[in-house]
Subunit: 110 residues, 2 copies
DNA sequence: TTGACAGGCAACCATTCAGTTGCCTAATTT
DNA sequence: AAATTAGGCAACTGAATGGTTGCCTGTCAA
């Protein structure tokens, strides 16, 4: 996948608190089924299923079939890549940008 | 703002390549006007303006008025907070999660 | 002082998104 | 064999998104 498209997919997947909650559950315990993931979610199984599908297609969740169950696991790689290939660029210039912003907002015209 | 609501706002703001392009421009050079930001963007000024408004309300961009111009600056804090308060949790358990995932996908049933 | 320029506001449009319901298949359990 | 359980598919709905156009208000420069 093209780099920008992958950023789109991952950031979009993360831009929903239900999906972030699913990731948090899988981070603390892998191998959960869809029914497991539905626990404490105040929406239908189908709604959760759609969210999981979005996480899957962004590569954030990988699955394995076992009989009639589908076990879900966190794939940490996309988040790592976002950190390394996108966020780190902003972290690098962070203090300089902050100082620049402060100067600008204090009205200095340079 | 509530923590989850702020994550929503920032991730949603980042989930669009036009808005990420605006941030990239402001990262390399602050103090740009809306007209500056429209350069190389293949859409109307109003469309860009809406994107900038979303970045502003997520706190990623701060502005200062100067006469009839509005100067835009990158605010690096929200990205830093996402990194520190959200991503770092995933980075910490990264290698363990990766090993777990690999085992699971190789069919081990434990 | 008149025109050009930076920006804001509002209405509209098509598409996507988050959720629902209803039904279906396949694997288990009893 | 029958009932239950895990999951998938499709159609529908309302709201949010990303874009457009038209017009309006300040500010600056000729």
């Amino acid at each position: 996948m093209e780099a920008e498209a992958e950023l789109d997919a991952v950031f979009k997947a993360l831009a929903d608190r239900t999906r972030r909650a699913v990731l948090d559950r899988l981070r603390e315990r892998g191998g959960l089924t869809l029914v497991d993931l539905c626990e404490h979610m105040e929406m239908s199984r189908q709604a959760v299923s759609k969210h999981v599908a979005i996480l899957e297609s962004a590569g954030l969740v990988a699955t394995r079939r076992s009989g009639r169950e589908k076990l879900h696991y966190l794939n940490p790689i996309p988040i790592h890549e976002i950190q390394e290939r996108w966020i780190s660029r902003y972290e690098r210039g962070r203090l300089a940008a902050l100082a620049n912003l402060k100067n600008a907002l204090e009205g200095r015209n340079d």
